[in-house]
């Protein structure tokens, strides 16, 4: 097994030999091999890999031979997840570097990557990453008007005009936010920004 040519993705800063045992039992810092859907392999510190509850359970259940296959995660996404673990696992919740990383992580993520991260974090059972990614989407949609939200999620408006009018009327009471501008003038931000015919 050890002599097979294995396509190994070397993580930065981790010094490994060209041919590496799958999970080193003897070394002080055990490493776990994770395999993405394309077959690309990632060698990750066990500490970080346990950032995923699913992987953690597999390790505890004795899965030590070979690579852990992750058929639901692509290599680019797995790479980002590993990055996340490296910045968060073992750190305190208020760690400044971790917060900075999160900010950049979300800001630079393209829409499809963010989607994939949510799916991956859910599959891998990594709650903090799921929190981060879902919050990013929540922050995006809260600023959208109803039409934009429909477009974003690919939702068809299935209300009849009467039903829609009734819901809008209800919303009007809730959406009647009064904001106070700098000079103390009150302005009414009425309605749900619906594009009406």
């Amino acid at each position: 097994m050890a002599s097979e040519a294995v396509a190994v993705k070397i993580q930065e800063g981790v010094a490994v030999d060209a041919v590496v045992p799958a999970a080193s039992e003897t070394s002080a810092q055990r490493k776990i091999l994770l395999k993405s859907v394309e077959g690309e392999e990632f060698l990750v510190d066990e500490l970080f890999a346990r950032g995923s509850k699913m992987i953690s359970n597999m390790i505890d259940d004795g899965f030590t031979e070979g690579a852990i296959p992750l058929p639901n995660v692509t290599a680019p996404v797995l790479s980002k997840v590993v990055e996340y673990w490296k910045h968060h696992v073992g750190k305190s919740e208020t760690d400044k570097d971790a917060r900075e990383f999160d900010r950049a992580f979300v800001k630079d993520a393209s829409s499809s990557v963010l989607f994939d991260i949510i799916m991956a974090a859910n599959y891998l059972d990594c709650k903090p990453l799921l929190d981060l990614a879902c919050q990013a989407v929540a922050d995006a949609i809260r600023d959208m008007n109803v039409e934009q939200v429909r477009g974003f999620f690919g939702i068809t408006n299935d209300f009849t005009p009467e039903e829609e009018a009734a819901v809008l009327e209800e919303n009007r009471e809730w959406s009647n936010a009064l904001t106070v501008t700098g000079n103390g003038q009150k302005e009414s931000n009425e309605g749900g920004n619906i594009v009406l015919p």
Partner: protein
């Protein structure tokens, strides 16, 4: 691979004015496995044809989209329902109402048990102030969200006319009291779900100082009726338990000369301030017994508000000094072990002067989670002291609504039931 580099561009213009052409141009979506569909002749129907848009506008959409890229179904449409609920649970509660008009399924999301489960697990929205204003003809309830710096008017049409006093709020529920004819009644409601219920009458029909407390772990709430408004010293303490849906009688508060209206509930104990002499009484809910706490109050203390903080902390807020030029507003914390009030902060003079233009000006003081709020009765100003960060700040955007209103902290929650 074509992708969206800047997620923010999905939003289009920030001011929310619908500029759908811009928006759709930027929404270049890909199939799930990241492979572009490059078949040129396929003109995919845009699933989200906006209602009311005429054919000409729809045709314009197709022209704007880059010829190489086809409009695929939005990947976000493939998000499983439970993950969509995770996302929606993280949208601020007041903004969720707007999204109910997206489609029928989203209209009922606020009642969806999966959404409510996630909603109960995410961190709280943040501190909000609820104001209640009432005159003989009408009443008005508004909520100011500190995180969003915005006021929201909450429809409170269900509130009966007799509801006159805002008792307080806890865990998303709000409690009112008042006289319905000759009966002193209490009402509990969840403003976000509009659910409400009048509680059964107390054993003794008299106006009492009340406090409501929600226990989110066992999904119940209690209302404690301590002292009688008029100083009737023979009344037993009554406690309403939502699990039993009835009031139970407990120990009569030991004879004190006079009770103030200052109370705070903290760590399953009700603290009540007594006047003449100034002192502290404590009621333990588990045992139903009163106890005198022999903590000496600061000399020449005026006002003396009791405020409950987080993690069993109890604060005392008041003015020291009889003369206006020498007055200062101070905050003490009870050292439970040593039974002594320890001064932890003083309001900087500039805030004090701005809050109370005249030394006798009325103000209210209340708190939640180590935030202490001061509202000036006449000026409609709100001042906040963050005990943990030791920071004083004006509450921006808060003016006017506070005048002549009863105010309390409020935590918007969909998942707290009135039953």
């Amino acid at each position: 691979m074509v992708g969206i580099r800047d997620f923010g561009s999905l939003l289009g213009p920030k001011n929310g004015s619908s500029n759908d052409n811009e928006y759709l141009k930027n929404t270049i979506v890909m199939a799930r496995n990241g492979v572009r569909n490059t078949s040129p002749s396929r003109q995919k129907v845009i699933k989200t044809k906006p209602r009311g848009f005429d054919e000409e506008t729809v045709a314009t959409f197709s022209k704007i989209i880059h010829p190489d890229v086809q409009m695929e179904d939005s990947i976000w449409g493939l998000l499983p329902e439970d993950l969509l609920n995770e996302v929606l649970a993280r949208v601020p509660p007041f903004l969720l109402f707007r999204l109910r008009s997206v489609c029928k399924r989203w209209n009922s999301v606020l009642y969806d048990s999966s959404f409510l489960k996630f909603h109960s697990q995410v961190p709280s929205h943040g501190p909000c102030l609820l104001t209640f204003w009432k005159n003989a003809q009408t009443h008005q309830c508004s909520v100011f969200s500190l995180p969003l710096k915005t006021w929201y008017k909450i429809p409170f049409r269900f509130l009966p006319d007799w509801a006159f006093w805002l008792v307080g709020s806890s865990g998303g529920l709000v409690c009112f009291s008042g006289f319905d004819g000759l009966s002193f009644k209490t009402l509990v409601c969840n403003p976000l779900t509009q659910a409400w219920r009048v509680l059964p009458s107390m054993h003794y029909n008299q106006q009492r100082q009340l406090v409501m407390v929600v226990n989110r772990t066992d999904r119940s709430f209690k209302v404690i009726a301590a002292s009688d408004i008029y100083g009737d010293k023979t009344l037993p303490t009554e406690v309403y338990d939502s699990k039993l849906d009835r009031w139970s009688l407990h120990q009569i508060m030991p004879a004190v000369n006079l009770c103030s209206s200052k109370m705070a509930f903290c760590d399953s104990r009700l603290y009540l301030e007594t006047l003449s002499p100034l002192g502290l009484m404590m009621y333990k809910v588990d045992t139903g017994q009163w106890e005198h706490i022999p903590a000496k109050f600061p000399r020449s203390l005026l006002d003396g508000y009791l405020v409950a903080g987080a993690q069993k902390r109890l604060f005392l807020v008041g003015r020291i000094g009889l003369y206006s030029t020498l007055q200062s507003m101070r905050i003490w914390e009870l050292d439970h072990a040593k039974t002594v009030w320890v001064e932890i902060s003083r309001m900087p003079p500039k805030y004090f002067r701005a809050l109370l233009r005249l030394s006798a000006e009325r103000f209210e003081c209340f708190g939640q989670d180590n935030l202490i709020c001061f509202t000036s009765w006449n000026q409609g100003k709100g001042l906040l002291y963050d005990v943990d960060r030791k920071v004083w700040s004006w509450i921006a955007g808060c003016a006017l609504q506070l005048c002549n209103s009863q105010v309390c902290f409020y935590e918007p929650r969909f998942d707290t039931s009135v039953n």
